[in-house]
């Protein structure tokens, strides 16, 4: 750590790959252009500068967001604004998920007071696995997003900056999240923030999970009735709030024989009938051994782990997930405490 690192700082992590997967072909998922991510980031600079954040650490990447930000920095900020110093992390670039993990580790090493994430559930899952107790500001730019919300970046930057500067206490603006952890053969392997689903499909393939055939078991940390993606299955059957103590797990079945069928929006523009055999409460700490003999595990909607009949997989719901900022709570606190109120200079 340098002396500079003790000044208030924020990390911004924007996943350049979010929003390019097969759901644009098999569903009607939206395209989130890199140019708009760049615009969101410069709006974050504006509000972070306004709050007084000194330094922003950003992930280097090979896909153009970093280049576009460098280009934006070649011209002065809009009149009357002072942007923070922008530092691109010195890191190897592999154009893979490992880049996100390395970047978050480096941001934490630099002592950032928060990490603003632009991405989908998958990107947030990766950040959550390395962020520890650094509060995350979750902004949606992916496809089936349940964990992050679509929020105006200007406001998100204000909220993240107020917390990073200590003007809003973390306890007043952040919430702890549940997480689904999966062990493979006794070793803690990965996590999901919203949904963990097994399928009898054999391959990770193009990653997204959008077919009903083969879906076998579904674990949900929370399930909202107005969600999209796998968690909508639980959300439309037995909603579970994000802040509720437990979660849900469901055994799925062929809709032709299942006692319950839910018409679920599995992806944008894609409604699929899902058969449900059983639904159970998922209690924190309870270990559930998966029944699926071989196939893949999807974490937050994307196939990640291939497993065989020789593997033993166990899922647990835990309350040791990431801290995320509740932007509305932070801004309400700011209003109540007049943090953005200015005195008339005259």
């Amino acid at each position: 750590m340098s002396l500079d690192d003790h000044a208030p700082s924020i990390g911004i992590l924007a996943n350049p790959a979010a929003g390019r997967d097969i759901r644009r072909l098999v569903a009607q998922a939206s395209v989130f252009p890199i140019a708009e991510k760049r615009n969101m980031i410069t709006r974050l600079f504006s509000s972070l500068g306004e709050i007084g954040v000194a330094t922003v650490y950003m992930m280097s990447d090979g896909n153009g967001i970093a280049d576009r930000i460098r280009h934006a920095l070649e011209t002065p900020p809009p009149s009357g604004q002072t942007w923070p110093r922008i530092v691109f992390l010195d890191m190897p670039i592999e154009d893979r998920a490992i880049d996100t993990l390395v970047a978050v580790e480096k941001m934490v090493e630099h002592g950032v007071g928060g990490i603003i994430v632009l991405g989908g559930d998958g990107t947030h899952r990766l950040v959550a696995s390395r962020a520890g107790d650094v509060p995350i500001t979750a902004l949606s730019t992916g496809t089936n997003n349940v964990f992050p919300a679509m929020r105006e970046a200007t406001i998100a930057g204000l909220a993240a900056g107020l917390v990073a500067m200590g003007q809003v206490p973390v306890a007043a603006g952040a919430i702890r999240n549940k997480v689904l952890r999966i062990d493979v053969n006794g070793a803690q392997t990965d996590l999901a923030l919203v949904d963990l689903c097994t399928s009898t499909e054999l391959w990770v393939g193009s990653r997204a999970l959008w077919r009903a055939e083969g879906l076998d078991q579904l674990f949900l940390s929370f399930a909202e009735a107005d969600a999209i993606g796998l968690s909508s299955i639980g959300g439309l059957l037995r909603p579970v709030a994000r802040e509720a103590e437990g979660g849900l797990w469901l055994n799925l079945a062929d809709p032709a024989t299942a006692p319950i069928i839910i018409a679920a929006p599995l992806a944008p523009g894609l409604m699929i009938d899902i058969g449900i055999e059983e639904v159970h409460d998922l209690h924190p700490g309870e270990a559930i051994t998966l029944r699926t003999e071989r196939g893949v595990v999807a974490l937050d909607g994307e196939r990640e782990l291939e497993f065989s009949q020789n593997d033993k997989l166990v899922v647990r719901l835990e309350w040791d997930g990431p801290l995320t900022l509740d932007i509305s709570k932070v801004m309400t606190y700011a209003a109540e405490n007049e943090l953005l109120k200015r005195k008339n200079a005259n």
């Binding site: 252009p33 990653r207 291939e306």
Partner: protein, 322 residues
């Protein structure tokens, strides 16, 4: 629908045949016996295979200068291909096309193409013909990140969308347009981003993973066959050799290719997946390795022994009577 054992064996054989064909050409080209330019496809096999496994005799493909893999994928005869590259009279095009103009219309392989971005307009024509004739065929255009910047590519994307053609545009982004990094030369971040401007789906897949390519390709080809229009799929992959044989590759990092071969090999990945899933055995895959090696060896021996085209052949196949 999961791939059955026969299809998995076919996929491995196709990928292995492409790899062996290219590795052998790399060796043979250095002897000076092969005329013209050769652009090798080694490292990109999962793309040609993942797409071509879905095609049949109704379908047509247009390729680019790096066309051996696409030709093998579409079913061109390996012996005739090797003879063509050696410029022999019994080659696929009578020895007149060579590597960069190799074609077999009887197989629906409309040709490798020396014009960067030259394949997509041809594929649009084939797709239009399929639509007008009601064959239910589809056309594929394989091109690179460099060609994705060409006007012909943009015009083809536009025309395909306007006419709702049964076509799939396959951008094989191997990171370099000749010696220029795609990170510099492609103004958008993924070539697939361009699709939305032409009102069609654009998807990025891991071009090193046969199963990822095969899955996305299947959906796009099914969509085209069902009359739902064109798709653009960008396969992110790497080439193991230079732009052409003889390219000193000074634009690539030290040990870049060595590291790629060690860590991202589509054949290794395929082998690891199917054996760990106990769908195919090492012995079955090794047997294919042996058969393919013998096939390629035989194709080289026969090509080298075959006669050159006779002088009387100079003007045949040049003009066509209508």
């Amino acid at each position: 629908m999961p791939l059955g054992k026969d299809e998995l064996l076919k996929a491995y054989r196709m990928m292995k045949t492409i790899r062996e064909f290219e590795e052998r050409l790399h060796v043979e080209f250095a002897t000076g016996e092969i005329p013209g330019f050769v652009h090798l496809y080694a490292g990109e096999e999962a793309s040609a295979t993942g797409f071509c496994m879905h095609l049949d005799e109704r379908d047509k493909i247009a390729s680019n200068h790096r066309g051996h893999g696409h030709s093998i994928g579409k079913g061109c005869d390996v012996h005739a291909m090797m003879a063509e590259i050696y410029g022999r009279g019994n080659g696929l095009c009578g020895g007149k096309g060579g590597s960069m103009h190799i074609a077999d219309l009887s197989k629906g392989m409309m040709g490798a193409n020396g014009i960067v971005g030259g394949g997509s307009p041809l594929a649009c024509g084939a797709a239009l013909a399929a639509k007008q004739l009601g064959t239910n065929g589809v056309a594929l255009s394989f091109f690179g990140d460099g060609a994705s910047n060409q006007g012909t590519s943009m015009e083809s994307l536009n025309l395909a969308s306007v006419w709702n053609l049964p076509i799939v545009f396959v951008v094989e982004n191997n990171g370099y347009a000749e010696a220029t990094s795609s990170k510099y030369s492609v103004a958008c971040d993924d070539a697939a981003d361009r699709a939305s401007a032409f009102n069609m789906p654009g998807v990025v897949v891991d071009g090193h993973d046969f199963f990822a390519v095969h899955e996305a390709a299947g959906e796009a080809i099914k969509r085209a066959r069902e009359g739902k229009g064109p798709t653009l799929i960008e396969c992110k992959l790497n080439r193991y050799y230079g732009h052409f044989e003889g390219d000193a590759q000074t634009y690539r990092g030290k040990d870049e290719v060595k590291n790629l071969r060690a860590t991202i090999d589509c054949l290794d990945r395929f082998r690891a997946k199917v054996t760990s899933a106990e769908l195919l055995s090492e012995a079955e895959l090794n047997a294919i390795d042996g058969e393919v090696a013998a096939l390629i060896d035989d194709s080289v021996v026969k090509a080298q022994a075959a006669p050159m085209p006779a002088p009387a052949e100079l003007l045949t196949d040049v003009y066509i009577s209508y």
